[in-house]
């Protein structure tokens, strides 16, 4: 085992639980002063980083969290699993890399409503529908972090998905839903 592989193994095994490496790495460490020094350096880092290992809620904070959640959950409907359909209609199209560009802007006089600008056409979505869209994208690992949108502000979301990710997403969509998606989003293939 060479030194570079040992360094990589040490980096890979370095967590707050210590440095977890295979037995052959330890054998190398006994014979290599340079790698042993790096191992000791990482071990010292584990000690230095230890104070932030377990940051816990106080009992009061935990109670506040549970009470707040209970209250919020009562006011909030659960999302239905709207995107769990089977479909194959777009499989061929999704075989290539795809970039999905979605623009949102808030209607100036419509607090609570968002306007989806697809091809610069104003399409209004309710807050619930918008949340469903965002939730769908977040849950399906699309590479984007949606900006939360304040009424009156303009914002945009750009998501880039690879062909593999696109297949994963569209595997579970029905024809109806894919049509909806195609109608309402700008899809650049």
């Amino acid at each position: 085992m060479n030194c570079q592989r040992v360094h990589d193994a040490l980096d890979d095994g370095f967590t707050s639980a210590g440095i977890d490496v295979a037995a052959d790495v330890h054998v190398h460490l006994e014979a290599c002063a340079e790698c042993k020094a790096y191992y000791d350096e990482l071990t010292a880092m584990v000690e230095l980083l230890h104070p932030l290992d377990n940051l816990e809620l106080t009992p009061n904070e935990s109670s506040t969290l549970m009470a707040g959640l209970e209250k919020a959950a009562e006011r909030t409907d659960r999302k239905r699993p709207v995107y769990q359909w089977a479909a194959a209609i777009l499989r061929p199209a999704m075989a290539v890399a795809m970039v999905m560009i979605i623009m949102f802007s808030a209607g100036p006089n419509l607090p609570g409503l968002l306007v989806l600008d697809a091809d610069m056409e104003n399409l209004e979505f309710s807050q619930t529908e918008t949340e469903e869209i965002l939730s769908y994208m977040i849950n399906d690992n699309v590479d984007l972090v949606p900006e939360l949108i304040d009424p009156g502000d303009a914002a945009y979301i750009t998501g880039q998905v690879t062909s593999a990710q696109a297949e994963d997403i569209f595997d579970d969509l029905s024809t109806e839903e894919i049509n909806w998606l195609m109608d309402n989003f700008t899809l650049e293939i």
């Binding site: 980096d11 890979d12 370095f14 967590t15 707050s16 639980a17 350096e41 010292a44 880092m45 230095l48 980083l49 104070p51 932030l52 290992d53 377990n54 940051l55 816990e56 809620l57 106080t58 904070e61 935990s62 506040t64 969290l65 549970m66 707040g68 959640l69 919020a72 959950a73 909030t76 409907d77 659960r78 999302k79 239905r80 699993p81 709207v82 995107y83 769990q84 949340e131 939730s135 769908y136 977040i138 849950n139 690992n141 699309v142 590479d143 984007l144 972090v145 949606p146 900006e147 939360l148 880039q160 998905v161 990710q165 994963d168 579970d172």
Partner: protein, 170 residues
Amino acid sequence: MLDRAINGDKQAFTSLVRQYQDRIFGFIMRMTANRESALDLTQDSFLAVWQNLPGFRRDSSFSTWLYQIASNKTINHLKKAKREVPLADNYDAPTNSAGPDDEYERKEQELLLTQALTALPNRQRLVFNLRYYEHLKFHEIARMQGISVSAVKTSFAEALKKLKTRLGGK
């Protein structure tokens, strides 16, 4: 328990929250360095979990999915927060039963660490937290963030290098 929570059992969901609340709070606290924000974001994250559980498809483990939601909430918060003072200046550790000297020393150590962590760029901080403190695998972080494993490893290595420098290591 997860199946029951997915099917709307609030008691099962409460058990899930109790099981994961400290991990999620700790993760967000290390990201934001602000106790009040961390508590709010923890609540927001679990509320999003409750709302979205019916659509949870088990493509990843529940805990990875939970970290993904918490990561998104936290990064959104960090992006939105146009801070005029550094995060670490707002750092507020909880009090505990230790003596005043111990308590002072502990808070000093936490502050030093928090300053070092919050000085990292968001992605490096996120990757370091998820890997080092939360023990997620590199490929899980890569999938969660939609980036390559090598990009995750590079972010982690960069973060580690900066932390070593800032914390007085080599």
